[in-house]
Amino acid sequence: MALSRAHVASVRRHSPACRFVFTGLVERAGASSLSILPAGPESAVVRVERVHHGTQALQDQTGQAVTVLLTESLDTARGERCVFFTDPVLFGEAVGVRELARIEAPEDLDALHDLVVRVRREARLNDLRRHMTSADAVIHGRVVSVRRASDRAEPPASEHDPLWWIARIRVRRALKGRQRGEILVRFPSSRDIAWHRVPKLERGQEGIFILHRDGAEHGGAALAILHPDDFQLGDIDELREIADRA
């Protein structure tokens, strides 16, 4: 069963910008399920029936009652089933979300769900493309070896010191920039809160490396990975295509 044009247009328009898309049943208008959020005419308690997009913490809300801060009043006090495009703002006894848009739930929820998933994937790939655009180099390569950036015994200056290591990477193909042969890339070996999400490279790893110049050079390496997204595994051909368009 196809979605209406209006449904498709709403999903394409609102899904990329919001972080929590779900189908829900209005249980109480003018109500709140959060003690920190007073009930008012702009709030409603909605039972989440199906999550179409959200982090794992939001996926866990299936079957739970969330409080929605509405952009406009509901047509009925209860019993209305809608697809809500929202951003979470509070996590308490329940989740509180701010509505960006809302549409009547279609009959074919599976089709809507598939469309939201596709649109979100496109958004994610666009984010990756923008990240590659902002980088100084993007390569497809393989880690040949890793070593400390410095052998000096000086203690770190700060608990947030990145504790640089150097990876020697054999370049299979330069997707942005002109790197060839083997290059040196810095990565933070630190497990500190500031760096723990940045990938720690190991010998033998192969994938797409998104590289940055940060104005520093340690151990001969001016290029570095600095962000959680700077090492990409997965479909190399798809990643190459994204990089080519970056």
Binding site: R19, F20, L34, S35, I36, L37, G54, T55, Q56, A57, L58, D60, Q61, G63, Q64, D87, P88, V89, L90, F91, G92, E93, A94, V95, G96, R98, A153, E154, P155, P156, A157, S158, E159, H160, S190, R191, D192, I193, A194, H196
Partner: protein, 540 residues
């Protein structure tokens, strides 16, 4: 005689029951004008994956917590919060989106879901730490931080309402800087204008790190021409009294998964600014990676006692002094080894500066579990203890296994947890959730036993009724249950608690009944009015 009460609450909200994050390095502040409003922080990301970082907020005195997404820049690295006057909330953070970028933030008054305003922004800064006091209606705010140029304090004598930078200026406080200062720069202001600032000034890095423990002072809220120079060292005459010289700092040492190296706290007596307590950690005791020392000055920081107390294998010292001059000393101590290793969370309370052994309150004894280690710091480079009136409020991070044996004075969990199977459960109440590190709120208070105070003391009892519908209410069994511990509680207390609970139940039923009758009356009036209109129409 005043009776002591202790509450411990796991701050992870019910809607986040599935979370397994390592929520370490917590901090806490209580609105002095509305004590039921409390804000806490930890290394907790936005569960929704958004661009703001969260604080934990409670509006019921710490019983219930909500994650409120108000910190700009995503999950911050270091962060610190304090209330000023008028429910103004201040924060010092290192933004999550730019490495070592300091933001000093304000929300005046604090309002849930409202992103905090940026007052100050500066790069290459470490570990901002906020302190605040109110004098003559003005918020005096101090943010200790380790700038790339050295230890400094950003300060404002009137921070509440002015547009950015709201009077903030920066003062470098270490005149002996030759290598660097440790990350911890800790201010402690007093209402009379005295402001202390403690820090470590490095003297050597190799073969081991040695540092002086220094206390600086300002006598007029930091408003003079040369702030933080009021206290000259009795040895070299430079600003800042060196309390201990060249102590070994266990910089980047580890114990029980926890990274060590900059443990420091200072507290000024709210009734007498001449009296100030200092706690720091160093490696001066053999066999102990880090030993905490507590010392006192009674002459505004010029001379200092020897150790009033020392605790081996400990970290995260936090000092606070109540309005009735109880001194609280919080710390976390590693005990045991290997599979039996644990983190114990203590608060020592003394009224006589440890002339006699202090009352040692063990809030938690939790396992050291490598499976819960995700990053440094494991439980935090600091925790927090605050004095508000005669009470202590605080926060610590610890392993969250739901086991009453781990919490000698009791604990309340909001997140779904089965204390029989000792298993965390997801939002659905069914799916098991792996253990991790959570922030825990605690409140230590003393009450004389008047009705109002009893209600507060027994505030852990809960009566929550939603949508009560009845034709006839019959109570077959009534069980009284309160979380936490009431020190020296007896049968009479519990009896009064049951009586109070039954009274509240009766009040609640009466209230629901009254509202139902009012709604019926309104419906009838609307119906009558409608019929009246229709009659008018018929006449037309």
């Amino acid at each position: 005689m005043a009776r002591r009460h202790i509450r411990v609450v796991n701050m992870i909200p019910r809607s986040m029951s599935g979370e397994t994050n390592q929520d370490s390095e917590p901090q806490l502040t209580v609105d002095p004008e509305r004590r039921r409003t409390i804000v806490g922080t930890a290394f907790t990301p936005d569960p929704g994956g958004g661009p703001q970082g969260p604080v934990f907020a409670s509006v019921d005195g710490g019983e219930t917590w909500t994650l409120d997404l108000v910190i700009p820049g995503g999950e911050p690295n270091d962060q610190s919060v304090r209330f000023g006057g008028g429910s103004a909330l201040y924060a010092g953070i290192l933004r999550g989106d730019v490495f070592l970028r300091l933001n000093i933030l304000r929300s005046a008054p604090y309002s849930p879901s409202t992103v905090m305003q940026t007052l100050v922004q500066r790069d290459s800064v470490d570990q901002p730490y906020v302190a605040a006091t109110v004098a003559k209606g003005r918020d005096k705010v101090y943010v200790g931080n380790n700038d790339s140029k050295g230890g400094s304090v950003d300060h404002s004598a009137d921070a509440r309402t002015a547009p950015p930078p709201a009077g903030f200026s920066q003062t470098l406080i270490d005149p002996r800087l030759s290598i660097r200062d440790s990350p911890s720069i800790r201010p402690a202001p007093h209402r009379d204008g005295t402001v202390y600032a403690a820090y470590f000034s490095w003297r050597q890095t190799s073969p081991k790190v040695l540092a002086d423990v220094v206390v600086a002072r300002d006598d007029n809220f930091g408003t003079g021409a040369n702030p933080f120079t009021a206290l000259a060292d009795s040895g070299d005459g430079l600003a800042g009294q060196r309390v201990a010289l060249s102590v070994p700092i266990p910089w980047f040492f580890y114990t029980a998964n926890e990274r060590l190296g900059s443990a420091l706290s200072i507290a000024v007596d709210p009734t007498n600014s001449r009296i100030v307590y200092l706690a720091w950690g160093d490696g001066s005791y053999p066999g102990s990676q880090q030993t905490l020392h507590v010392r006192r000055s009674r002459d505004r920081g010029q001379t200092w006692s020897g150790d009033l107390v020392a605790v081996a294998n400990a970290t995260n010292p936090a000092l606070a002094i109540t309005a009735d001059r109880k001194v609280g000393f919080f710390y976390q101590q590693a005990t045991g080894s290997g599979a039996t290793q644990r983190w114990e969370t203590h608060v020592q309370v003394t009224r006589n500066a440890w002339k006699t052994p202090a009352r040692d309150i063990l809030l938690a004894s939790t396992p050291v579990d490598n499976a819960t280690y995700q990053y440094d710091p494991y439980i935090g480079d600091y925790a927090d203890l605050q004095a508000v009136g005669r009470d202590f409020y605080g926060i610590f991070s610890a392993h969250n296994r739901p086991d009453h044996a781990n919490f000698p004075h009791g604990v309340r969990y909001q997140r779904n947890a089965n204390f029989v199977t000792k298993q965390l459960l997801n939002v659905n109440g069914v799916t098991p959730v792996a253990a991790s590190i959570d922030p825990f709120f605690f409140h230590i208070f003393w009450r004389e036993g008047r009705e109002e105070e009893e209600r507060e003391a027994f505030g852990r009892e809960r009566l929550r009724i939603r949508g009560l519908e009845y034709e006839r209410l019959k109570i077959h069994e009534l069980d009284f249950e309160a979380d936490g511990d009431s020190d020296d509680g007896d049968e009479d207390d519990r009896g009064r608690g049951v009586s109070r609970l039954i009274r509240r139940l009766a009040d609640r039923i009466e209230d629901l009944d009254r509202r139902e009758r009012e709604e019926e009356k309104e419906e009838k009036e609307e119906k009558d009015a409608k019929e009246g209109d229709e009659d008018d129409g018929d006449e037309d």
